[in-house]
Amino acid sequence: MQPARCRVQFCATVLAALLSLAGTTPTRGQANPSIEYQVKAAFIFNFAKFVEWPLDTFKSENAPIVFCVFGHDPFGSALDEIISGKAINNRAVLARRITESPDLKSCQLVFVSSAEYKHLSEVLNSLQGTSALVVGESEGFAERGGGIQFFPEDSRLRFAINVDAIQRARLTVSSKLLALARIVHDQVNPRGN
């Protein structure tokens, strides 16, 4: 086989393979969630284990704990995989995707991705008076009234807890979780945000 010819053949094969695959690529579904979001999903499940909701949040004794992802969902299947078949204090755990902020009232935990950070005020407004734990990942999220905020440190995930927001939502956070967190407070005008 001549090298030059082989190269052409090779490229042609690659191209053909690409074209045929492009033609058959299914269009449903999501890419594999990144490791970051697999870990974040596991964190969120852990948060719920260390948070006590006031009893009046739940409709009944066995009512599930509902995790809601507001708007853009970066988890793919990761969150569902983490919580599937699991229970916290004899309550099942459900995950829901919510696109309209008024629908958030039924959630015990709300995740607001960085893509939806611009809607944080709207989310917090509709959750006023409820006992939802609001979790986010944008810089300044906790200071602006979010409950728990992820932040990266040395390529690993850390989290900050806004104790004012926790108190407003009448949540009880275990001291173990607080010990691992960076504690922050409401900031009226953080960095001009």
């Binding site: 090779f10 690659v14 999903a41 810089e139």
Partner: protein, 691 residues
């Protein structure tokens, strides 16, 4: 550095009468190589994810690294190439105190020690002191020298305690940079300064490694910046040559270095690192007294080593699925060996990865490298021209497409490169990974890879000695060929990874390579030369691309947790090359050299036992099949160590190496640049204290 002549040390000295045939025989091209290239998959994920994140504690989760130094993040389970990761834990358990010994633990990597300060390292065939098909990167910076396209393993001597992991990829499917590489990629990633706080003292010594140690201190500057500084020293005793005399290969090396990591916003990190080293090693090489000298003498030369590097990396994260990285580096080294080279290399690279829709992850990058070399040269070896500046432009693009989410991934990409010698080259590849279940992965790949010529291939002038012919003195000379073409390889690879139950994992990879335009050495037209005197006829031997061939093989790496405290890691590799000459070739040495320089079979068994809370015992047995050209008998080596970690901060290890035989040989440098000495049984003790 010299690039020729078979070692003639002691008992290996051939009879003088056969000089001509000897010269032809010795012209085994130490630097023949499979071309290979790169693009494609990204180095593996740094760490394996816990099996069930849902049951992980918060503390565990806080320890999972979510970004990687690799081009983009990719789970090991769906990497479509033969990947092996050496973790920091593996490094501790290996009891290795230098990089080549650490690489022995990877099934399929051929590591052979030539003498106390020289190694030959390759994968999938063609081992040589000047192996030029293996790319080695340290924190994203290529550490091979463009002089011959390989690595000076003696000076790749960083503190092993500071290594986060080493990603070893066999085959061409590995790196997006991989300039003039690759039958494989070794990607060394050091720990961030924030992961090495406090002081560390490592001190040890023994019968071969007479004294070694590291002093290190890490801390913080302000809130955002962490740093570490270190010094490292080693002093190694000489081995004996086959006649039982001092082999002259003792050496020492001192190094000082630093790393800083600054997190200057939640999305930006800046890393600086660098080091300086100075050392001295004995090179038991060979020399000729005049250009037509009929005899080659063993000569030990003292080689001064010096060098260092400085690099900075700015990483910016746009979102969880997109980021950029800008890297600048400068590297300089100096070696007062037969070539007498000083080389400085400046490199700037940029890469960007991002998600495109729900299913595609794209990564692309550009790199510019400028390398300038000055050589003094000697009668034995010089470069023509002696000073050369070689720019290199490289770029790549790669797309990982989730054909079926979580199940089937297609990765396509290509590298486009422009090098000084052969101009533009395009190196595409296609890879597929299928994970039918979270426990198993099947993958396959086809890549077109190139090895571009190095300075030694195009510019070498090496006098191999001579004889007195009927018409006067004759000199035989190896000459580089500026018109050499790239060596090309089409590599077909496939692999299977599976975890069986909780206790057994298995990784299997097989390959078949078609190789074209492989290097040979051809006799050229004789010519007269009056200087240096006496006037003489030169019989030139010129590098050419007149062979082709195929190679195939497979590698198996397994991990078996036999009991709670006992892990066994067996590994096996099979590799075979067949080369053929084009009808126009008159080369008689390249084919046997290529076919006989790597072992057909190699096997290893590593064992780790946690004897008690604080005491662990590690043992490694390596079997390496015989080499046929130059001949090295098969050997088995046993290394073992006992480590007592009496608290989190202090540990003491007692290590024995090469315990089975008094002495053994592992490799002969067929180029004659350095002689083989006898690797002896040795023991050392090592103490590590952190505070």
């Amino acid at each position: 550095m010299r690039v020729r002549r078979r070692s003639i040390h002691g008992a290996r000295r051939p009879p003088p009468a056969s000089l001509e045939s000897r010269i032809l025989k010795v012209l085994t091209r130490g630097y023949l190589s499979l071309a290979a290239a790169a693009l494609m998959t990204i180095p593996a994920r740094s760490q394996e994810m816990p099996k069930d994140l849902g049951n992980s504690s918060i503390e565990d989760l806080m320890n999972i690294e979510i970004t990687s130094a690799s081009k983009t993040e990719q789970k090991l389970s769906r990497t479509a190439s033969a990947v092996f990761v050496i973790t920091a834990e593996d490094i501790r358990q290996s009891n290795a105190i230098n990089m080549p010994d650490l690489l022995r633990t990877v099934p399929g990597i051929d590591v052979a020690q030539i003498n106390a300060n020289t190694w030959a390292v390759s994968t999938r065939g063609l081992n040589s002191r000047f192996s030029n098909e293996l790319l080695v990167m340290l924190d994203g910076r290529s550490v091979y020298t463009p002089t011959f396209g390989g690595v000076f393993w003696d000076v790749l001597d960083l503190p092993l305690e500071d290594i986060e992991r080493i990603e070893v990829i066999r085959g061409p499917g590995a790196s997006v940079w991989a300039t003039n590489a690759v039958n494989g990629v070794i990607n060394i990633i050091t720990k961030k300064a924030s992961d090495t706080p406090g002081a560390m003292v490592v001190a040890g010594g023994g019968t071969a490694d007479q004294g070694f140690g590291t002093l290190q201190y890490g801390g913080n500057i302000g809130k955002e910046t962490s740093f570490r500084v270190f010094t490292k020293y080693l002093n190694q005793d000489h081995f004996s040559n086959p006649n039982g005399q001092d082999g002259g290969d003792g050496w020492d090396l001192a190094r000082a270095g630093f790393r800083t990591d600054t997190v200057f916003s939640s999305k930006d990190t800046l890393t600086f690192e660098g080091d300086l080293y100075r050392g001295r090693e004995g090179n038991p090489g060979s020399g000729i007294s005049s250009i037509t000298s009929p005899s080659i003498q063993g000569v030990v030369t003292e080689v001064n080593l010096g060098g260092g590097f400085l690099q900075t990396v700015w990483d910016h994260t746009y979102s969880s699925s997109s980021g950029t990285s800008l890297q600048l580096s400068y590297d300089k080294y100096q070696r007062s060996d037969a070539l007498g080279e000083t080389r400085g290399t400046f490199d700037i690279s940029f890469q960007h990865h991002f998600a495109w829709g729900d299913r595609q992850n794209l990564v692309w990058g550009v790199e510019y490298r400028y390398s300038a070399s000055r050589t003094v040269g000697s009668l034995e070896i010089s470069l023509d021209p002696p000073n050369l500046e070689t720019p290199l432009f490289s770029s790549f693009v790669q797309d990982e497409i989730a054909l079926v989410p979580d199940r089937l991934f297609l990765t396509v990409g290509t590298k486009l490169e422009h090098n000084y010698y052969t101009g533009w080259g395009l190196q595409p590849s296609v890879r597929v990974a299928w994970t039918p279940s979270p426990r198993e992965t099947l993958w396959a790949a086809v890549s077109d890879a190139e090895r571009t010529p190095a300075a030694i291939d195009t510019s070498v002038v090496s006098n191999l000695g001579g004889y007195t012919g009927p018409n006067g003195p004759v000199a035989v000379r190896l000459l580089g060929n500026p018109n050499l073409r790239d060596e090309r390889t089409i590599a077909y690879e496939a692999g299977y990874r599976i975890s069986v139950g909780e206790h057994v994992s298995l990784d299997f990879a097989a390959y078949y390579n078609d190789q074209y335009d492989q290097e040979t050495t051809e006799p050229g037209a004789p010519f007269f030369e009056s200087a240096p005197s006496p006037p003489h006829l030169v019989l030139p031997l010129i590098n050419a691309n007149l062979s082709y061939g195929e190679s195939h093989g497979f590698e198996v790496a397994t991990n078996w947790k036999v009991a709670r405290r006992w892990t066994l890691s067996p590994g096996y590799a099979f590799e075979q090359i067949h080369l053929h000459l084009e009808p126009t070739s008159h080369d008689t040495t390249s084919v046997p050299a290529a076919e006989g320089s790597s072992p057909v079979n190699s096997a290893q068994l590593r064992s780790h036992v946690a004897l008690a809370q604080a005491l662990s015992w590690d043992a490694s047995v390596y079997f390496v099949d015989r080499l046929t050209d130059p001949v090295i008998p098969a050997y088995t080596r046993l290394d073992t160590g006992l480590t007592w970690q009496w608290n989190k901060k202090s540990s003491l290890s007692l290590v024995g190496q090469n315990l089975l035989k008094d002495v053994h040989e592992e490799f002969v440098d067929s180029t004659g640049s350095t002689a083989t000495t006898l690797i002896k049984r040795s023991v050392f003790a090592k103490f590590t204290w952190r505070f």
